[in-house]
């Protein structure tokens, strides 16, 4: 018996591209927890892995697509959502998941986010919100809190951050939820729900960046950040997303939007069927 046979397999190993390990993420980074929750959701739903596509933009979390053992694509910075739109419309059988960062999805890609939500394209967006651009070394971004220190806000951030769940709700998403990396069971349940729901969904995951953002802002180690999450997280049901502003003392978590609305793909298929039927009617006249 060699050492390999003695090694215990991680229960989620089959969902990962083993040969791409080790991943690039720092110790204590929240990205691993996010990815783990996603894989557990896949496992519990027993979805056909051949029908899942994971798409990422650019950033630390953007590497997620490369690690999941399904069809996957690592697009340019900010463009995961329009790429995903093309995939979903071209092959409606596929479950299309975008896993990307706060900067990727809401700065450079912000316009795509609101339009995909408005159209209600049936894609699931999971955003690792670590309040900064981790990959490029900790610059401020669209979710960086006021006064925070980043390498490009050396005198403190003077830009107001987005409230992502409010943005999603206002743009037309049928599902919007926020969790921190502490509430792993709820996060997983949320991902499962979004995967089974038709329409544009956002799951915001407040995620530690111990190596950069948390260190610069003296939030402590990854464990201390998790303790902070525990202290300030408040679970609510159907809380008004407009009021769910994140502050140092309070992070409102939960499901903010959960409604039914026909997806773009459904309306497109119905329209196409109608056009064909009308044409056939005319041609047989």
């Amino acid at each position: 018996m060699n050492n390999k046979d003695l090694m215990l397999q991680h229960p989620l190993a089959k969902y990962l591209r083993q040969e791409r390990m080790p991943h690039i993420w720092c110790e204590g980074c929240g990205n691993g927890i996010l990815l783990n929750s996603f894989l557990e959701a896949l496992d519990e739903l027993q979805l056909d892995l051949d029908n899942i596509v994971v798409i990422s933009g650019i950033g630390c979390i953007g590497r997620a697509a490369g690690y999941v053992n399904v069809d996957s694509f690592h697009t340019t910075h900010g463009r995961a959502i329009p790429f995903a739109t093309g995939v979903k419309l071209a092959n409606p059988q596929l479950k299309v998941v975008v896993i990307s960062g706060d900067g990727d999805l809401f700065a450079i890609g912000g316009n795509h986010f609101i339009h995909a939500a408005r159209r209600n394209v049936d894609i699931k967006v999971i955003c690792a919100n670590n309040f900064n651009y981790g990959m490029t070394g900790g610059q401020y971004g669209p979710t960086t809190p006021l006064e925070a220190w980043t390498t490009t806000t050396p005198y403190g951030n003077i830009e107001h951050p987005f409230n992502l769940v409010h943005l999603a709700a206002a743009s037309g998403a049928v599902y919007a939820a926020r969790w921190t990396t502490l509430q792993v069971r709820r996060l997983k349940a949320s991902i499962k729900k979004a995967l089974q729901k038709e329409g544009f969904s956002l799951i915001e995951v407040i995620s530690p960046c111990p190596e950069i953002y948390d260190r610069y802002n003296k939030l402590g180690t990854a464990v201390e950040v998790m303790k902070w999450f525990k202290l300030v997280s408040e679970v609510h049901k159907a809380y008004d997303p407009a009021k769910a502003v994140i502050t140092k003392n309070r992070i409102i978590i939960g499901e903010f939007v959960d409604i039914e609305k026909p997806s773009y793909g459904r309306l497109l298929r119905e329209m196409t069927a109608q056009v064909k039927e009308d044409l056939e009617g005319e041609n047989t006249k």
């Binding site: 591209r17 040969e19 791409r20 892995l49 051949d50 029908n51 596509v53 798409i55 590497r63 697509a65 490369g66 053992n69 399904v70 069809d71 996957s72 694509f73 690592h74 697009t75 340019t76 900010g78 463009r79 329009p82 790429f83 995903a84 739109t85 093309g86 995939v87 979903k88 419309l89 071209a90 092959n91 059988q93 596929l94 316009n111 795509h112 339009h115 497109l268 329209m271 196409t272 056009v275 064909k276 044409l279 056939e280 005319e282 041609n283």
Partner: protein, 383 residues
């Protein structure tokens, strides 16, 4: 006429260049169009919006051209033949993702109906000002293919050719027309569908376990699996190995990949390049022209011949890859070369490079008026 559930509208039609381009795309098997309206390419989007649902295809108007090309790459990876159509400002916005399509070897077609630039320029006026951008607009080293139609019939024929080349070489292929060709109306013959050559991307012949998404065959082109076919592969805009794994610091992998991406076009130039030669055999003065400028050039060459000038025309249908060898051969025999272009001198630089010591002169035009044959004949006299 638009009330039709057929993809190929076999018969004789009177169409504008833009409409013929849309029909060419449908005949080629295009079933996904992602775009954003812009003069003078809007009619392509409008035609596709009407026609695609009739034949079960998908039209989507995206929020901008960055999104349009991203969606088109996505649709291509999900198995559709896909395209977008734009003009200068939109073409500029697409550049980063054109690089992504090159890097991930996504077959797709981009139509650029060129207008006057820079910037918003002259939206309703013709230009040939995006020729260099088509080749060099995205960062990094790469090769693409670009065709330049000079008639409405060619808007139909060459759009099909663009799809065939894209599918053969897994590369973005551009149809570079100009406002006049896009907007003018001419007779178009659409052949029966069984007479139209259609090429589809080659598929993997190995089981998923053995499939390496970027492992090329002898022609340097890798077979292409699509999402949902069970191959579970990864593609990335990062430098990658044959398995699609990111290789961000490996010099050998960077060299190997970029050389192959360029090589699959460069080693196949002979099969890709198409030109039309008119009375070149004994020509002293050769006009090298493409697109709208080549129409006046053809009249000029015929006129010059009646006046005793030994004139010839090399009409470039393929402008990228540039037919360097052919221009060099012609330059050896010619005494002078004239390049009429609707810009301040773009492709003329390629001609100069290939022509070596043979004098090359640019006939530049900007704005509404294309070249007149008489201007080109005068230029021949001056040489």
């Amino acid at each position: 006429m638009a009330k039709n559930n057929k993809a190929v509208l076999t018969g004789t039609h009177f169409l504008s260049g833009d409409l013929a381009c849309a029909e060419g795309a449908l005949a080629a098997g295009c079933r996904f169009f992602g775009g954003y309206p812009i003069t003078p390419a809007t009619e392509i989007a409008e035609r596709m919006a009407r026609r695609l649902p009739q034949i079960g295809g998908i039209y989507i108007q995206m929020e901008d051209e960055i999104a349009s090309i991203a969606a088109v790459i996505g649709a291509s990876y999900a198995g559709k033949k896909a395209m977008t159509a734009t003009s200068g400002p939109g073409f500029s916005l697409m550049q980063e993702n054109i690089g992504l399509a090159v890097m991930t070897e996504a077959p797709l077609v981009i139509v650029d109906i060129m207008r006057g630039g820079p910037s918003t320029g002259q939206p309703t006026m013709p230009g040939q000002q995006d020729v260099m951008q088509a080749k060099w607009g995205s960062h990094g080293d790469y090769e693409i293919i670009a065709l330049a139609p000079s008639s409405v019939q060619e808007m139909f024929d060459l759009t099909i050719e663009c799809f065939n080349l894209a599918e053969t070489f897994r590369v973005p292929v551009m149809l570079l027309a100009d406002e006049i060709i896009g907007h003018m109306w001419e007779r178009v013959e659409i052949p029966p569908s069984n007479e139209i050559t259609i090429i589809n991307r080659k598929k993997p012949v190995v089981p998923p376990r053995e499939y390496h998404p970027f492992q090329p065959d002898d022609d340097l082109v890798p077979p292409m699996a699509c999402f949902g076919e069970g191959y579970r592969f990864h593609a990335t805009g990062l430098t990658h190995d044959e398995k699609g794994a990111p290789k961000t610091v490996s010099i050998p992998e960077q060299t190997k990949l970029v050389k192959r991406l360029c090589g699959k076009i460069r080693t196949n130039t002979d099969t890709i390049i198409q030109v039309k030669e008119v009375t070149l055999e004994d020509a002293d003065v050769v006009v090298v022209a493409y697109g709208i400028a080549s129409r006046a050039a053809l009249s000029a060459v015929r006129k010059a011949r009646t006046q005793g000038i030994k004139a010839g025309l090399l009409r470039l249908i393929t402008i990228w890859p540039f037919p360097e060898k052919l221009v060099a051969q012609i330059a050896e025999q010619a005494k002078a070369i004239i390049v009429p272009e609707m810009n301040c001198g773009q492709l003329v630089r390629e001609v100069e490079r290939a022509a070596k010591t043979t004098p090359v002169s640019l006939l530049s035009k900007l704005g509404e008026e294309p070249h007149r044959p008489s201007e080109i004949v005068e230029a021949m006299r001056r040489m």
